[in-house]
């Protein structure tokens, strides 16, 4: 009897949690990277459309993936990066977007649509793009840096930082060796792994966000990071320089998608359309510091000349860039296996 009461109480509690949403008001549930939108744009969207935005943030593509995979949450708009978009498409986790509702698509750089990660261009609309470069302190390193090789040079022992995630770290080693970022050749991957093992012996640390502090304070002298973030760092330490390595680098697109089973698909499309508008794109580009895919923004945005070089790299640099695509499961498993082996 006692147990029955407890079980009933638990069930009642669960039932009261499940249909938490509801209510008459139109909503859109958005899941984006942290610090990746100008909040004024959200307020303006609510005012203009009457749709309430429930806004949540994530830190990595993999975190986004595991949240979607575990279920139990319902988002209407998500903003994963290129390779994660293609993984979500392959696993049938995305809804096709009705592009007739995205009038502002005309503003979006055509060369970014229908790329390898979303070949038909039906599942995603670009939100931001950018590149990865080497950031170094020109007071601590007086040599001219031109190559990824600097990150694997024992001369800078104890001063080098490296990405603390397998895809970016392996990608850099692969690029340095002259291979594709998306290689599925296990020998090439092993070669890249060996390079990382050697690098680890004289590496200062594996970092993500900590790189801001460590490069700005001069604790470390060199490390790879997203080029847009260099603009923030250089304001705090003018000695910092950004280089696009001669071997070529990774270019990324973060794109807006609608996950399968989204409850407010039309509102999601209204949101995506709004974000593609000139005004919203401009505000977000100024706030984030990455490159907006909106072609009008390039003309309107006020940037100092060094900033413009970072945000709008030359065609020569862009042609030398490679995008990540999703890898087959056995290669993903190998990545994780090698990464854990490297770090244990």
């Amino acid at each position: 009897m006692k147990r029955v009461i407890i079980v009933l109480a638990v069930v009642a509690l669960l039932l009261s949690i499940l249909p938490a949403c509801g209510g008459g008001r139109e909503v859109v549930n958005v899941y984006n990277w942290g610090e990746y939108i100008d909040e004024e744009v959200l307020e303006q969207f609510e005012k203009d459309t009457g749709i309430k935005v429930n806004y949540k943030t994530f830190e990595t593509n993999e975190q986004l993936y595991s949240v979607l995979k575990q279920g139990g949450v319902s988002y209407d708009v998500i903003i994963p990066s290129d390779y994660m978009v293609s993984r979500l498409i392959n696993e049938g986790m995305l809804e096709k977007i009705n592009m007739d509702n995205i009038h502002n698509l005309t503003y979006i750089d055509e060369s970014l649509i229908g790329m390898e990660y979303d070949p038909t261009g039906e599942y995603s609309v670009p939100y931001m793009t950018g590149t990865v470069g080497i950031i170094y302190n020109s007071r601590l390193i007086t040599d001219e840096i031109t190559s990824w090789g600097a990150l694997f040079d024992e001369k800078y022992a104890g001063q080098i930082l490296m990405f603390d995630n397998p895809r970016d770290a392996m990608g850099i080693a692969l690029k340095y060796l002259g291979y594709s970022l998306n290689t599925t050749d296990k020998d090439q991957l092993m070669e890249a792994y060996d390079l990382l093992v050697e690098q680890k012996t004289f590496l200062q640390a594996y970092v993500m966000d900590q790189i801001f502090d460590k490069l700005e304070s001069g604790e470390a002298a060199i490390g790879p990071y997203y080029a847009g973030d260099y603009i923030i760092m250089v304001k705090n330490n003018p000695d910092l320089k950004l280089v696009m390595p001669e071997e070529g680098t990774n270019r990324f697109v973060d794109a807006m998608c609608i996950p399968k089973g989204a409850k407010n698909k039309e509102n999601a499309e209204a949101f995506i359309n709004y974000m593609c508008g000139v005004e919203a794109s401009l505000k977000n580009a100024i706030f984030v510091g990455y490159t907006s895919p909106n072609i009008e923004v390039e003309k309107l945005i006020e940037l100092e000349s060094y900033e413009r070089e970072v945000v709008y790299p030359s065609d020569e640099i862009l042609d030398n860039c490679e995008f990540f695509v999703n890898l087959p499961q056995d290669i993903l498993d190998l990545y994780d296996e090698l990464w854990i082996k490297l770090k244990k």
Binding site: V10, L13, D164, R167, K200, A205, D213, E219, D333, D336
Partner: protein, 299 residues
């Protein structure tokens, strides 16, 4: 309440039992939802593959990670011992102060816990760095110059960040209050007359401590050890920020399974389960040891 322990005969008796236990139900429900169900999920995940079928495969490769298990247990053990060595005297001395002093010191011990855990660990990072506050201070007072002049070396900083020592320091700093507080709360409750009796019987102060106070405070020591050891074994952010991420701990390994590129929650659950089992074994051994001691004291 003793009467309710026996099997209930009449209906009235039974209902009264429910009535008396009523206040405990919110927590029982809480525990069922957020402790029991998650543990069941961990077990289910650990013994299934991604297609949902039963498998022992997740456990087959765990020996690959033996070095990570070993490192985590060792660092947590060292941190726990340091906490005990630092924390016990503090708790003991504290219990001898006047009421108001005790309250102020307890507050000071708790004070750091009002600040976010991540923030505190981040601050240690900027303290310990080669260009950090401590190294800049040592350089400013001329310590490195002095050493370099005497030994002809070329030392510019003391390497503290990105070492295992820094990870242990992070654990000790964050979990020390969890050692002090349980020991303190047991020591203050020790009956003064027991100590007086020992003194009357001719025990000197060190005898009083080793034969009376320490044995009586053992239950606090054991809960202190548990409360430091368990979170130290499973921590993941400390090694990332203070250890440089080059030598991962169990917590990092588990996090990688859930948020890594391969996404393997089944392996993650298996590692968590093994970790829980190891911790439970450690704790039950500790408790056995504690119980025995207490009994000898009572005898």
């Amino acid at each position: 309440m003793n009467g309710h322990k026996t099997t209930s005969n009449g209906n009235g008796h039974f209902l009264r039992g429910i009535y008396h236990r009523m206040p405990a139900y919110p927590y029982v429900i809480w525990m069922a939802l957020f402790v029991v169900i998650p543990i069941i999920l961990v077990v289910v995940y650990a013994f299934t593959a991604s297609d949902g079928k039963f498998t022992l495969n997740n456990f087959a490769h765990i020996s690959d990670y033996a070095i990570v298990f070993g490192r985590s247990l060792l660092l947590a053990l060292i941190a726990t011992i340091i906490c005990l060595i630092l924390g016990y005297p503090v708790a003991y001395v504290l219990s001898k102060f006047g009421q108001s002093t005790q309250r102020i010191i307890i507050m000071l011990i708790m004070l750091p816990m009002w600040i976010n855990f991540l923030l505190r660990t981040y601050s240690w990072m900027s303290l310990l760095e080669n260009t950090g506050l401590i190294n800049r201070f040592l350089a400013a007072i001329g310590l490195f110059n002095l050493i370099n002049n005497i030994f002809g070396t070329d030392i510019r900083h003391l390497q503290m960040i990105n070492t295992q020592g820094a990870v242990i320091l992070g654990m000790v700093y964050n979990y020390l209050p969890f050692m002090i507080l349980p020991i303190y709360s047991v020591i203050v409750k020790i009956d003064k007359s027991v100590i007086e009796a020992a003194q009357d019987l001719g025990a000197n102060s060190s005898k009083v401590f080793t034969k009376v106070i320490f044995p009586l405070s053992l239950s606090g020591v054991i809960s202190g050890i548990t409360m430091v050891f368990v979170p130290s074994v499973s921590t993941f952010i400390i090694s990332k920020l203070l250890g440089g991420g080059t030598q991962i701990l169990l917590g990092d390994l588990i996090e990688m399974q859930f948020l890594g590129s391969a996404y393997n929650p089944h392996l993650g659950a298996a590692i968590s389960l093994i970790m829980m089992i190891i911790v439970v074994i450690c704790m039950s051994v500790m408790n056995k040891f504690g119980e025995g001691e207490e009994q000898t004291v009572i005898l």
